[in-house]
């Protein structure tokens, strides 16, 4: 089966004055339709650069991105915009404070001419309901919502244009732990119901362990390991992956044991 998205020998170089920074260095991986691929790394790992190239915010310096067998152009047309959507880390910033929730959700419907103009209001109500919010939220401003509720709206907006691939850029890092669990649950449900494909960008390996089908570990612009979370946590092959796992703050005794066990593995 052909992958949904194929990233092939992609590099990205940024120029800062006389310096050249290679943010992404010859990276290749596939994303299968319906899977949740986690991209893990710390700041400077290149994980956000990968996301921005997939979203078409800027093109790669080298290499190609292929979506459903066709190369993604530097200037995306509306069909690609519609297919690939984004949920950002900070819902306070990602929703326009001066526009109502309804107006924010209406934008993708208007841009992609989804449904008749007359039933947009019903669609907005249905979207809100799908992410667990009452439909009268459409008239509210983002300031009247909690962090978790705002993130639900941002998710609804990403799904409004019936997208296929959603890039989730640290979608729960700004949230409290109880809210995080609810949002992760919602994301899982939506993926199942809508047969979505996720690229889940995060620095939190504990989250990855519980939601991803495969994990790509990035270090300084390079892909250092790509495996299922089960195998990655049982036997990380890269030294860097091990250091990431052992840095995760844990709460359970069994987790402490797992961490100690990993620290004990000697690859020498």
């Amino acid at each position: 089966m052909n992958p949904l998205l194929s990233v092939s020998h992609v590099s990205k170089t940024f120029r800062l004055g006389n310096h050249e920074i290679r943010a992404v260095d010859d990276v290749s991986f596939d994303v299968a339709e319906g899977e949740c691929l986690a991209i893990v790394g710390e700041s400077g790992s290149g994980k956000s650069t990968i996301a921005n190239m997939v979203l078409g915010i800027y093109p790669p310096s080298d290499g190609t991105l292929t979506y459903r067998g066709a190369e993604l152009p530097a200037r995306r047309d509306l069909s690609h915009r519609r297919a690939i959507q984004l949920v950002q880390q900070n819902p306070l910033s990602s929703l326009n404070p001066k526009r109502s929730i309804g107006a924010s959700l209406r934008l993708p419907l208007d841009v992609h001419k989804i449904g008749a103009a007359g039933d947009r209001r019903d669609r907005i109500g249905a979207l809100l309901e799908e992410v667990g919010l009452p439909d009268d939220f459409a008239g509210r401003s983002p300031a009247a919502l909690s962090g978790g509720q705002r993130q639900r709206v941002a998710i609804a907006r990403a799904l409004a244009c019936e997208s296929e691939l959603v890039v989730l850029d640290e979608p729960t890092s700004a949230l409290d732990v109880l809210v995080q669990a609810r949002i992760l649950k919602l994301l899982q449900q939506l993926r199942a119901q809508r047969s979505l494909t996720y690229i889940f960008i995060t620095h939190d390996l504990a989250v990855v362990r519980n939601i991803a089908d495969r994990v790509a570990v990035f270090e300084k612009g390079k892909l250092v390991e790509l495996d299922t979370p089960q195998r990655l946590f049982a036997e990380p092959s890269a030294e860097y992956t091990r250091s990431l796992i052992s840095a995760v703050p844990v709460v359970g005794n069994d987790e402490v044991r797992l961490r100690e066990q990993l620290a004990g593995i000697d690859h020498g």
Partner: protein, 292 residues
């Protein structure tokens, strides 16, 4: 028995605003013995950060804030101190580390100058050369290998992790009896965060500094603290020694928090119900259980 470094009894806080009075803390009691590392853990809006600000005496100066209760710092009641006396305590007997190290340092002065400023709070006559020698030694204590280069740098020339270490060194420069750490390292990468916490843990143990550690991250708390207070909506819902509390969480809220944290051992995403009535149950005190 020696006097506790910090003893908070029945602390209430409310804010007067346009829409009337908002109660933020509903009678919090908390104590930290000498050399003890105590964590106050809760979600945003739980009242954990305002508690730290009250201890530092920063909220009392707001006209809209109403604070009541006892705040004993090494036996002296902070509530009876003047604003000037509270100011004298900050940076000398009490110091603080903030979430984002880079923005807490002043970008227009070198580390050496800022270190000197901090030291002068306790030793007003300290000269630049002496200050530099002492600062270099303290930077060595936080595992900075090239103290001279760091001292001559500006904060933006250093990495976040390096700035965090500088902050820790500065916070401990005047040998405070109490260090308040508000979400330290949250803005840093996980590996750097883990390193700095270990470093801070060892240093405060060595100096016998008492620490009030404010955090939302249960895992970090488990690794750092001797004792834990869990705060929910302005009330302490559970307290106890770290091992006891994490080994056997008693309060429904603590249990929900623990269940909600994703585990590196897997098990999927926990089902968390919306705010439950059970969260309002009375406090679970692990120390009292042990006695009984």
């Amino acid at each position: 028995m020696s006097v506790a470094t910090l003893d908070i009894r029945d602390l209430y806080l409310s804010f007067r605003g346009y829409v009337g009075t908002v109660e933020v803390l509903h009678g919090i009691s908390l104590h930290i013995d000498r050399g003890e590392r105590v964590a106050l853990v809760g979600e945003s809006g739980s009242g954990k950060s305002v508690t730290a600000r009250i201890v530092l005496g920063l909220l009392q100066e707001l006209r809209s804030a109403h604070v009541s209760g006892e705040l004993l710092f090494e036996g002296t009641d902070l509530t009876t101190l003047s604003a000037a006396a509270r100011h004298d305590l900050r940076g000398t007997k009490m110091s603080m580390i903030f979430q984002d190290p880079t923005s807490s340092l002043n970008p227009v002065y070198t580390i050496a100058t800022q270190f000197h400023e901090v030291q002068k709070r306790a030793l007003p006559t300290l000269g630049a050369a002496e200050s530099r020698a002492m600062a270099a030694k303290m930077l060595g204590d936080v595992s900075i290998t090239e103290p001279d280069r760091v001292l001559d740098s500006y904060p933006f020339q250093l990495s976040g992790g390096m700035n965090q270490r500088v902050m820790i060194a500065m916070a401990l420069a005047n040998e405070p009896s109490l260090l308040i750490a508000d979400e330290p390292g949250t803005a840093l990468d996980v590996t750097v965060q883990a390193q700095t916490l270990t470093l801070m843990h060892d240093l405060v143990a060595e100096h016998e500094t008492s620490v009030l550690f404010i955090s939302h991250n249960l895992g970090v708390v488990r690794e750092f603290a001797d004792r834990v207070y869990v705060i929910y909506k302005g009330r302490i819902v559970e307290k106890g020694r770290t091992q006891a509390l994490f080994g056997n969480p008693g309060h429904p809220y603590t249990r929900a928090l623990m269940a909600a944290v994703p585990k590196i051992t897997g098990g999927g995403v926990a089902d968390v119900e919306e705010a439950s009535e059970a969260f309002a149950e009375p406090m679970v005190d692990h120390d009292r259980q042990a006695v009984a």
